[in-house]
């Protein structure tokens, strides 16, 4: 049944063009659409059991209970009774479009040389033909932050829609923020003879911070100077101070978190989002007082230290949410696995979090952390019609089966090379 469904999707939606191609992007929304009868998870904690979700020209026009009647005239009505509708999941801090087969250097565009690279921009490298993209949206990820990595200031990221002919077309929010890796107080060395990791104080810690200080000072001097020698590195920093760019601050230990946040505040950086891990637990109050949203790595990982509770990574989103923080989830490591984002939130539910609260960690909280919450992250009138319909609970393996996904109102193609191969070989073997 399901296989033939994918086959039909293939036949109807595009002419199959061969393996190396991703599904063809679709045209902009041409007529208003109404999703009728589904359970709507708004992404802000609310659920509408029997809902009406309407959108036109790529924007949501109605989000309401079916009990409140609505004129359906002119709408393409899709009955989704028994199904669930969610705002598109958002994947922050990803290498989407920059990294394909990570073991092949020619296919990797995520790390520029040098240490201070605020002027390096991910958007122009973003490859809409990345084979990862259709597999992301197949699981409900409809937006991803495409992020440079490495160095102290890795570069400037952009939020991309998981569909588009080219990067201009796919761009959702260009140059959303700058990623900065705060220096480590501890330098870790790896002994390959014994496969053990050793930690020692980083002798260059202060020197590294001084380097950052110099860079920020130079930026401010540059901004204030009435006449100046043009400098792209310094100019690209300016958005941090007028609030047009966020600072994505990566810091790995409680002390580094406090020091780095204080540093950025003293420098006058307007919006800070922290990317960290269990370390946030030790300074949760500090983060709450300073109103810093936190992006965590996946819940599905092992604790870093042997005396940490076995469940700590699973529980972390719950513990930090209880502490009053705005928590969202990301994925680190093998790029292909980022498609499991929804299940990372599901895991948090198994370890204490409310389901709708967990949904926030991959929708509205992420939108806040990226500073794009005015447009996406929840199902609210006026926001982008970036949403999907799932047969069941999209946070659980069995339920995360999408029938429709809309990006800014466009009904995108879900099946891709992987479903095609499934179909091809099932047919070869004569499986039903």
């Amino acid at each position: 049944m399901k296989k033939s469904f994918y086959l039909i999707c293939f036949c109807l939606s595009f002419v199959y063009q061969g393996f190396a191609q991703v599904p063809i992007p679709v045209a902009a929304q041409s007529s208003p659409i109404l999703l009728k009868g589904g359970t709507a998870h708004l992404g802000n904690g609310q659920v509408i059991q029997n809902s009406l979700i309407a959108f036109d020209k790529g924007k949501l026009t109605a989000v309401q209970a079916a009990s409140t009647s609505m004129d359906e005239a002119g709408f393409q009505v899709i009955d989704i009774t028994g199904k669930h509708v969610y705002p598109g999941f958002i994947l922050p801090n990803s290498k989407m479009g920059l990294k394909e087969v990570s073991s092949v250097k020619a296919m990797t565009d995520s790390r520029e040389r040098g240490t201070i690279n605020p002027n390096i921009r991910s958007v122009i490298s973003y490859n809409t033909d990345s084979e990862f993209i259709p597999t992301m949206r197949f699981n409900g990820i409809l937006l991803a932050e495409s992020t440079p990595e490495g160095g102290t200031i890795s570069g400037t990221s952009s939020v991309m829609e998981m569909e588009g002919w080219n990067w201009e077309d796919a761009a959702h929010t260009v140059d959303v923020g700058i990623h900065l890796n705060w220096p480590n107080r501890i330098s870790r060395t790896f002994d390959f003879a014994t496969f053990t990791r050793k930690e020692a104080p980083n002798k260059n810690y202060q020197k590294n911070i001084d380097g950052l200080k110099d860079h920020f000072a130079a930026t401010k001097a540059y901004m204030a100077a009435p006449s100046k020698i043009a400098n792209v590195k310094l100019a690209s920093m300016e958005g941090l101070f007028d609030g047009s760019k966020r600072l994505f601050l990566h810091a790995d230990s409680p002390k580094e978190i406090v020091e780095s946040v204080r540093f950025m505040q003293q420098q006058g950086v307007k919006h800070i989002t922290l990317l960290t891990d269990e370390s946030a637990l030790y300074v949760a109050d500090f983060l709450k007082e300073n109103n810093i949203p936190v992006i965590l790595p996946q819940t599905q990982r092992v604790p870093d230290r042997s005396h940490q509770a076995v469940d700590l990574p699973y529980e972390l989103p719950h513990l930090l949410t209880e502490a009053g923080l705005t928590v969202s989830l990301s994925h680190q490591g093998m790029e292909s696995q980022a498609r499991n984002l929804a299940f990372y939130a599901g895991t948090a539910v198994a370890y204490g979090m409310d389901k709708e609260e967990a949904l926030k960690t991959i929708t509205s909280n992420t939108a806040k952390a990226l500073g794009i919450d005015k447009r996406v992250g929840t199902l609210e009138v006026g926001k982008d019609a970036t949403l999907f319909v799932s047969a069941g609970d999209a946070l659980d393996y069995k339920g995360n089966i999408l029938s429709h996904a809309f990006i800014s109102g466009k009904l995108v193609v879900l099946p891709n090379k992987q479903q095609e191969l499934f179909e091809r070989f099932s047919t070869k073997y004569g499986h039903e």
Binding site: V101, S103, I186, F195, Y282, G333, L421, F425
Partner: protein, 1007 residues
């Protein structure tokens, strides 16, 4: 020039009667008797015999007599040792004293492999087999090192060249400085082995299991080689290896796990090694005791961590904290358990004090008698030299210590260390105690001078009044004194005095601040009072009485002092996924008894059973991971055909990930060798028996498995400088064909030999045993099964053809990401599959991997499992299985079987595991929810009917852990306050192994 003359003079004086007559002389003859009588001493002859007010006679470097009624012959120099003790000087069996430095070979990242030995000459095929090195031939007196060791009380050491796995012979030498000919007491005293590659640049072996395999093959080679009167070729290493077998065999092993590995290796070849361990043997004392090995144990106790800052303290592991506290109990625990051991100073750094650490061990439970034994008679007897060293018996070398009291008391000083009848003076026999108050008069001015610190470290100050002192820089000797101090704050310099001792003080000359010369005197007034001693003693006693931590199994966080035991459990009213014809039964009960599943059904009852309410919960068979790399100390060795290495040799029962796996419902796993080579090593099949020893982790009577691998990893795709064969998939096939072909030839040779009559056998040389051929032959004979790392369809197809050619089956293709393309062929061949749920595109050969792979293979009738190859995935395999419901619509029961029954089938363990069936092992998980849901948690995990994980118990362990850490942090802080040396930084952490993780080589996370 003058110095040299003095030195020469000293050397000449030290020549005793037994000086070598063969040496050229550059002076008149000056041979002396070296006859001394030490009288009125407390003589500790050995740990059992002490003579009070005794006499010791020595002559020509040997002990002539010892006892109470010894008359002193004429011609002996008499030395009165009233109040002094004499001990036999100490012996250290674990030294590299006087040996040339060994430079470890380092291989740069991505450098070419070194396949052959580069040792010049006719030596062993592996550079690290250095059995031909004779310690006595490369030994050279090292005066500095000798001085350091003598200070610690040592007189004799066993020294050897610490290079390679077989290290040649050791020599017994004294720490005298005369010359090599004199100090060498025993030439080939011992044979030495280790798990350290040393200077060898040869690539193989890189792992502990490779070290063991190489040593095993060397024993076999030696036997074969030695059986031929006309040797088949020259190999001076093997010759030496053979000829040193009758010597005491010493193995430098390391931590307790390696001690057990060394002992096991020895057992195979009938060798009982004397094994050098570390300070951690107490952590597994039962296994250490059962090994029956004589141990050599260091006293290099770990330093406390700086845990003042709570954030920084988080970086320190509980294991390190607890070991810091308990390491000093090590020797005491060994003694109490009847383990024979010697102590060594090995491992101590600069500034560490050997005797202070021995005393620490004594404060932590080691009896003084046992300490002395471990430093004298035990090492002497290990060397078979009890009549020469280790005690003060007549005829022994005159190697002894003169101390001012009990050697093991804190303030005892070693005055002299006599070696072979020659004294090495460390601190004067008589040293005046100047403690007291003196009236210091300088040029009419009077001061109150106070001297304290006793004979050992006298210091002085001037008392102005009750609260004010003037510090005085003072230097004391028997006859002379130097003092300097600033008479008052405003003074622009110091008064400097120099003088000599008088009956009740000193007098002398000095210069005032202004440079004018004056006379001075200092006369004794009264003894200075001792203060605060009582208080200190009380504090010390409190410290000693404070509770100590307990040894847990494993020795780390979440370990336990009491291992789980088998009980009768009745799980009531749960949803039971049987994996059998009964399918999923609602509201059912499962009875567990004697470690087995005793009954499955509704409304069961059993007397004496502990009932567990399963309402709303689910019961499944324990999860089995077909492919893991947790629980091992090494994963890859690097020979193209590494079939001789065995993961079973390096099971690491102390891996945190075992407990984490339990918390995810995992009960058993195959630890596979990695994918660095076409033929990898042999697997270990284990159950997650957290707290068990490495041997107890293993599944008894499990069938043999071996790792094969194909594709990018084995052809070293990521290393552009690699020269190792093969470099293409074409070459990979030939490795297999060649390996199996040779194995058959090997079998033929042995068959021919074994067919011979006993008479003919005696005349014929038995073929050489070869561990590689033997393993390959096991595969052909279907006694060992292949789990093959594989990705693309061409190579999967190829390997099945190779197996067909040699008439056996490939048991399992693991990873098998393109299995869906050849599922029909796999089915026809009879191969099973163990795959990732949804990994793809992380390297070139997996760009066609699809998450429907498991479903297609399953639909085609291939026995399919989902594996982890990753510790994170490994602890939620039930969820990975659930992905096949999403991708391809697999049924729930079939999905669950992919991580329970199917891997059991692939591992040939399905007769005892994999389903909820009466008679099978009670490896059972109680889940909080449908086990295929992301919301399910393992509530309880049973193995063999014992509860190894329980959510409630886990909570209790967290609380205990927090308390214990807090206690140890306080204790470390107290140590810091009392000035103990501290360690900065956090604990070392063992990192995760992946398929391609090679020790000593940098690898990127890949699979």
């Amino acid at each position: 020039m003058k110095k040299i003359q003095l030195l020469l003079l000293f050397c000449c004086l030290s020549i005793l009667a037994v000086a070598q007559e063969t040496f050229p002389r550059n002076d008149v003859q000056d041979t002396r008797m070296g006859a001394y009588a030490f009288t009125n001493a407390t003589i500790v002859v050995d740990e059992n015999t002490t003579i009070e007010k005794g006499t010791l006679l020595i002559k020509e470097g040997k002990i002539q007599a010892v006892g109470n009624n010894v008359s002193i012959p004429k011609g002996y120099t008499s030395i009165d040792l009233t109040g002094k003790h004499i001990y036999p000087s100490l012996i250290d069996l674990q030294t590299h004293y006087g040996m040339p430095e060994v430079k470890r070979a380092t291989r740069n990242r991505g450098a070419s492999e070194q396949i052959q030995s580069k040792t010049a000459g006719a030596y062993n095929a592996n550079e690290a087999i250095k059995a031909h090195i004779k310690g006595s031939e490369v030994f050279k007196i090292d005066k500095k090192a000798a001085g350091t060791m003598r200070k610690s009380g040592f007189g004799t050491v066993l020294t050897y060249h610490p290079d390679g796995f077989a290290r040649g012979t050791g020599a017994v030498v004294t720490l005298a400085e005369s010359n090599e000919n004199k100090v060498l007491l025993k030439n080939a005293a011992s044979a030495h082995y280790s798990f350290s590659k040393g200077s060898s640049g040869q690539t193989f072996p890189v792992s502990r299991m490779g070290h063991i395999a190489l040593l095993r093959q060397t024993y076999l080679d030696a036997k074969w080689f030695g059986s031929q009167s006309t040797r088949p070729f020259a190999d001076q290493s093997l010759e030496a290896f053979i000829s040193s077998q009758n010597l005491p065999q010493f193995f430098e092993a390391g931590d307790w796990m390696n001690v057990l590995r060394a002992d096991k290796l020895g057992d195979e070849f009938g060798v009982q090694y004397i094994i050098s361990g570390e300070t951690d043997a107490y952590q597994r004392i039962q296994e250490i005791k059962n090994s029956r090995a004589t141990m050599i144990i260091p006293v290099n106790f770990p330093k406390a961590n700086d845990v003042e800052d709570p954030f920084d303290a988080e970086k320190v592991s509980y294991k390190d904290m607890l070991h810091w506290e308990l390491a000093p109990t090590n020797a005491g625990v060994l003694a109490k358990n009847g383990v024979r051991f010697a102590l060594t100073s090995d491992g101590l750094g600069k500034g560490d004090n050997f005797m202070a650490n021995v005393r620490k061990a004594i404060k932590n439970g080691l009896a003084e008698k046992d300490a002395l034994k471990a430093l004298t008679t035990t090492p002497a007897s290990i060397l078979g030299m009890s009549n020469q060293i280790g005690s003060l018996k007549k005829g022994s070398h005159a190697n002894f210590l003169i101390t001012n009291g009990n050697l093991f008391k804190d303030k005892t000083v070693i005055h002299e260390n006599w070696i072979q009848g020659h004294p090495y003076r460390l601190s004067p026999l008589t040293k005046k105690d100047f403690n007291g108050e003196y009236a210091l008069k300088i040029n009419g001015q009077s001061y109150r001078l106070e001297v304290s610190g006793g004979a050992k470290s006298p210091k002085a100050k001037i008392i102005v009044d009750d609260t004010t002192n003037i510090s005085v820089k003072a230097k004391f000797s028997e006859e002379l004194i130097t003092l300097s101090f600033q008479p008052e704050k405003k003074a622009k310099g110091k008064i400097r005095l120099s003088g000599w001792t008088e009956s009740d003080g000193w007098k002398g000359q000095g210069q005032l601040v202004d440079g004018s010369w004056v006379n001075w005197t200092a006369n004794s007034k009264k003894a200075a009072t001792k203060k605060e001693d009582g208080k200190k003693d009380k504090k010390k006693k409190e410290e000693a009485d404070a509770p100590m931590g307990q040894v847990t199994f494993p020795f780390k966080a979440f370990g336990t002092t009491t291992l789980p035991s088998q009980k009768t459990y009745l799980i009531k009213n749960a949803t039971v996924w049987t994996n059998e014809a009964d399918g999923v039964i609602e509201n059912a009960d499962v009875l567990i008894r004697n470690g087995k599943i005793a009954q499955v059904g509704k409304n069961l009852s059993a007397s004496g059973a502990t009932e567990i309410d399963g309402t709303g919960k689910h019961v499944t068979a324990g999860i089995i991971d077909e492919h893991t790399h947790i629980g091992a100390s090494a994963i890859n060795d690097v020979a193209t055909n590494s079939s001789m290495v065995r993961i079973g040799d390096v099971v690491d029962s102390e891996d945190d990930d075992i407990y984490r796996a339990l918390a995810g419902g995992v009960t058993a796993a195959q630890i596979l060798h990695g994918s660095a080579n076409p033929v990898g090593g042999q697997s270990a099949l284990i159950k997650m028996r957290w707290g068990a020893s490495p041997e107890e982790m293993k599944i008894k009577n499990a069938p043999g498995f071996i790792k094969f691998a194909l594709g990018e990893n084995v052809k070293r795709s990521r290393s552009s400088n690699s020269i190792r064969f093969p470099q293409t998939r074409m070459g990979v096939e030939q490795v297999f064909v060649d390996g199996f072909t040779n194995a058959l030839e090997y079998e033929k040779k042995w068959k021919t030999y074994l067919k011979l009559s006993e008479k003919d056998k005696a005349k014929t040389i038995a073929p050489r045993r070869d561990l590689v051929h033997e393993t390959m032959l096991e595969i052909i004979k279907k006694e060992r099964f292949i789990s093959c790392h594989s990705y693309v369809q061409s190579e999967i197809n190829m390997l099945m053809h190779v197996a067909d050619q040699f008439n056996f089956n490939i048991n399992t293709f693991t990873h098998i990401l393109e299995g869906y393309k050849v599922a029909d062929k796999m089915k026809a061949h009879g191969a099973g599959a163990s795959t990732f749920s949804d990994w793809w595109n992380y390297k070139w050969e997996v760009r066609y991997a699809i998450p429907y792979n498991a479903t297609i293979m399953h639909n085609e009738g291939v026995v399919t499992a989902i594996n982890s190859d990753d510790r994170n995935i490994g602890r939620r395999l039930n969820q990975e299985a659930a992905k096949s419901i999403k991708y391809g619509g697999m049924g729930e029961e079939d999905a669950l079987k992919m991580v329970t029954l199917n891997p059991a089938k692939l591992l040939h363990l399905d007769d005892r595991m994999g389903s909820i069936k009466v008679g099978k092992d009670a490896d059972v998980v109680l889940w909080t929810d449908n086990p295929l849901s992301v919301y399910a948690r393992a509530d309880k995990t049973f193995i063999d009917g014992k509860i190894y994980f329980d959510i409630a118990e886990d909570k209790a362990r967290r609380a205990t852990l927090q308390k214990e850490r807090a206690r140890l942090i306080q204790k470390m802080n107290a140590a810091k306050k009392s000035g103990a040396p501290m360690k900065k930084g956090g604990s070392k952490m063992k990192m995760e192994f992946h398929c391609n993780s090679i020790l000593g080589e940098e690898t990127e996370h890949e699979h």
